[in-house]
Amino acid sequence: MSDENVKWPVLGFDAVDAGLAVLDRETRVRAWNSCLASLTGISAELAMGKTLEQTLGAEISPRLLTSLRQATELGASSTLSHALHPSLLPLPDRLGRPVLHNVTVTPIGELGSYCLLHVADITSIALREKVLRERQNARYDAVVDSAPDAIVTVDAGGAIQWINKAAESSFGYASAEVVGRPLAALLGVDGLGQTLRTVLQGAALARPVEIIGQHKDGRRIDLEVSASRWASHDRVFVTAILRDITARKLADRTLRRLNETLENIAAERTADRDRMWLLSSDLMIVARRDGVITATNPAANLLLGATDDRLVGSNIRDLFMEDDRPGWDAAQEKLTSASLRFELRVTASDGKLRWIDWNAVAADEFLQAVGRDITSEKEAEFALRSAEEALRQSQKMDAIGQLTGGIAHDFNNLLAGVIGAMEIVKRRLHTGRTEDLTRFTDAAIGSANRAAALTHRLLAFARQQPLNPQPHDINELIVGMDELLRRSVGEQVKVRTFLSPSIGLAATDGNQLENAILNLVINARDAMADGGTIDIITTSTKVNLRQAVSMDGVAPGEYVCVSVKDTGTGMPAEVMAKAFDPFFTTKPIGKGTGLGLSMIYGFAKQSKGHARIESEVGRGTTVTLYLPRTQAGAQPIAGEAVLQAPSGKGETVLVIEDDASVRMLITEVLHELGYAAIEAADSRGALPILTSDARLDLVISDVGLPGMDGKKLAEIARQHRPTLRILFVTGYAEHAKVRDEFLSEGMDMITKPFSLDTLGHKVREMLA
């Protein structure tokens, strides 16, 4: 080899930026380049010929020795990295830092002779990388080790490469236990396979994944997992943060279960309430305590003419009729959690007033009111009262009205008896208990019989004939009642009788008089709560015409008087004025129906007599009955109206009247007069009769019939029967109108209220 050719390799040898040495089989140095010299701090001159160990003045690692041997003996090349060896060669520190180096050993030259030692200084690279890593690690570690959430890194195969402290405590495994194992080894479950695959593919998780994991001891752990992938040195990893949401999940589950339970309960209740709210025909209103409405149900909306929520926001107070608003104010103040009941009127959508029976409560900050429309009941009540008022408007208080009230009351009781008994029978039959039924059926029959008796009495009354008018010695009668009366008043009340002699006989029904006197005495007793004296006084008197007028239609003549006088509380003028009114009572509920005096009055009137009250507050009350004086065996002195003997020869009268009781009364009168009567409740019922060929001599028709009015009916009737006589029954107001407008030949009219006498006269007149 020429010098030139040799030169370059040699130059090259020393120029190489790595330590190079050639060693023989005994590790003796054959060559030592400059770089190695500076790395080791040992010059080539010093190194040459010595063994490596001798040169370095220190022991070399077994691995290196083996490598050297394998190279020279076997021809094997070796690589020794600082990764596995902290220090392969004892290189002195440079700049105060150790020299990190990799070493390779390769056979060189003839096999089995020499090897080449190659030392690479990787300090800077390694350091830089290490520093970078450490810095990253430090940053990373600081975050990650102190992170409360478990953080796990897995490789592309799903094997755990690293877990942080939080992960260790979360799952109960030491890092070494799980590194290298599949993720499922840590989590206890294999739930993240898909997630990992997704993330490994580079897709981001749309939202954190929730899985259920398991602590080493078996405890359930709910986890929220987010993960992302990263790469380093051509390897792909996934780092996942596993947040322990066990507590949160438990709370969620508990809360959800609780809510479901509550919701179910609430839903059921709500559904029920909703149904009631929607379907109820009663009005339902919810409002704030100050009355501002927050909700109205369909029934309320319908009645009050509101669509949906129109009423919301207005005040309940405004719903009520003006006069009733004070009533609402009072009720509103009294509202508590217990329900308050009251009746107040509202203005309905059609402008009419409606009576509502309210039940209201106050709850929390709201008040709730449920109202039932009782208008029709009220109207019925009013109608009754109006009818009574109308009846009473007349100068003559019509005893029928008053008596009917009393009888109706009795009737109700009897009917209740029948119904009650029947209901028990029905129940018993339903459950198969048929023993003892006769007791109840007997009771029902008994009540029904008594009701029949009442009806009979009513009918008898309608004929205006006393049931059993006889001349009576009143004094004798009263004496006969003495014991009964004393027993009735009790210990505290004293009864005195002042019976005038020679008062004569009174024409009356003895039983009824007894009843009347008994009632009066009991009334007197009730008026004297602390005891007192009752005087029963009999006199006779003469009533002249002038007096008779003020006595409500009584005929002038001679009368026997029975007075019952008490020393009780007395009554003020306005009460006295109404004392004989039916239903009028000053007695508390449950004591007296208010019918007693009216019935007495009715009885007096029926007897062709009169009843009168005198009273002074604090002094007492005196009720006097006037009964016509009679001769023994003589007929009672009757008033003008005298019932003549029936003269009818079978004439037929059609009565068209929608009020059943009035119709009945008219019919009775007709029967009394000897006529046959056909009844119809309205024009529809009447028309077939009118258009038939049946014998009809007279039609008595109410003008204001439902459906077709009387006038029209008359026209149709006259078409068929041109000569048919028609008697119209008109009200006061219509009287003039009817007279002027359609009264014609063969027609007449009679004004309500009319006495049956008057009716009888008219009928006879028209049929004569």
């Binding site: 077994p62 691995r63 083996t66 394998q70 003996e73 076997l74 021809g75 094997a76 090349s77 070796s78 690589t79 020794l80 990295s81 600082h82 990764a83 596995l84 990799n102 390779t104 390769t106 056979p107 096999l111 089995g112 990388e129 290490k130 890593r133 990253q136 690690n137 990373y140 570690d141 890194t153 490789d155 592309a156 195969g157 799903g158 094997a159 490469q161 690293w162 070494a176 590194v179 290298g180 380093s232 040195h233 051509d234 390897r235 990893f237």
Partner: protein, 214 residues
């Protein structure tokens, strides 16, 4: 194109296995010295396959990515030796040999080097032992790292050079309670195999004192 395979008799296979057994055992010893904890090795299973068969077997055994350390050898014997791991396991091996205190990043950074040296130790021991016992010399290159699959990992380098035969060994390492399985493959061409057979026969003779068995 079919290649006639060099048949090795049962005894020859046995002999080769024993050789490699010794080599792997020595490697274990070296590794143990390096790591400081016991390295347990399973008995290698040896098969003589074609390269194609080797690739197929590899794929059957390992579906996922593989990483390999390979060294070529030349001299009396020629070919390429590979130490193959499933990629998923290689980090474990590195962690096992490099120590447990390193952070994941450090381990990743050191992976190549650590793997290279570990592979180097194992392969050198195998090859050197073989060569030694066969009384031959080979020159073995420095280790290189290669990534691939069962299919591709055997196709590194100049395939025509290496030939079509493969000695296929399957070894289980147990290091630090980590079960790491690996494969050693030696790719050789026909002449090399023939040469190997000759050497084996000599070895058998030497060892057992028997004349060549058929």
């Amino acid at each position: 194109m079919t290649q006639a395979r060099v048949p090795l008799s049962e005894l020859e296979i046995d002999a080769l296995t024993e050789l490699l057994n010794i080599g792997v055992s020595k490697a274990a010893t070296s590794l143990r010295d390096l790591i400081g904890t016991h390295v347990a090795l399973s008995v290698p299973h040896l098969a003589l396959l074609s390269r194609e068969e080797a690739a197929k077997t590899m794929t059957e055994r390992e579906a996922n990515a593989l990483v390999g350390v390979h060294q070529s050898f030349e001299g009396d014997l020629q070919g390429r030796a590979l130490l193959i791991f499933p990629e998923a396991k290689s980090l474990e091996l590195v962690r096992a040999v490099a120590g447990g205190d390193l952070s994941l990043e450090d381990i990743i950074a050191l992976e190549h080097e650590a793997l290279a040296e570990t592979g180097n130790i194992i392969l050198n021991n195998c090859l050197a032992t073989m060569a030694n016992l066969l009384k031959r010399r080979v020159k073995i290159s420095l280790p290189k790292i290669v990534h691939g699959t069962g299919e591709t990992i055997f196709n590194i380098g100049d395939t025509s050079e290496e030939g079509d035969s493969a000695l296929f060994l399957y070894i289980d390492f147990l290091i630090r309670d980590r079960d790491i399985r690996g494969y050693i493959t030696m790719l050789m061409d026909m002449p090399a195999l023939f040469a190997l057979r000759e050497l084996l026969r000599e070895f058998i003779e030497r060892t057992s004192g028997e004349t060549r068995a058929e």
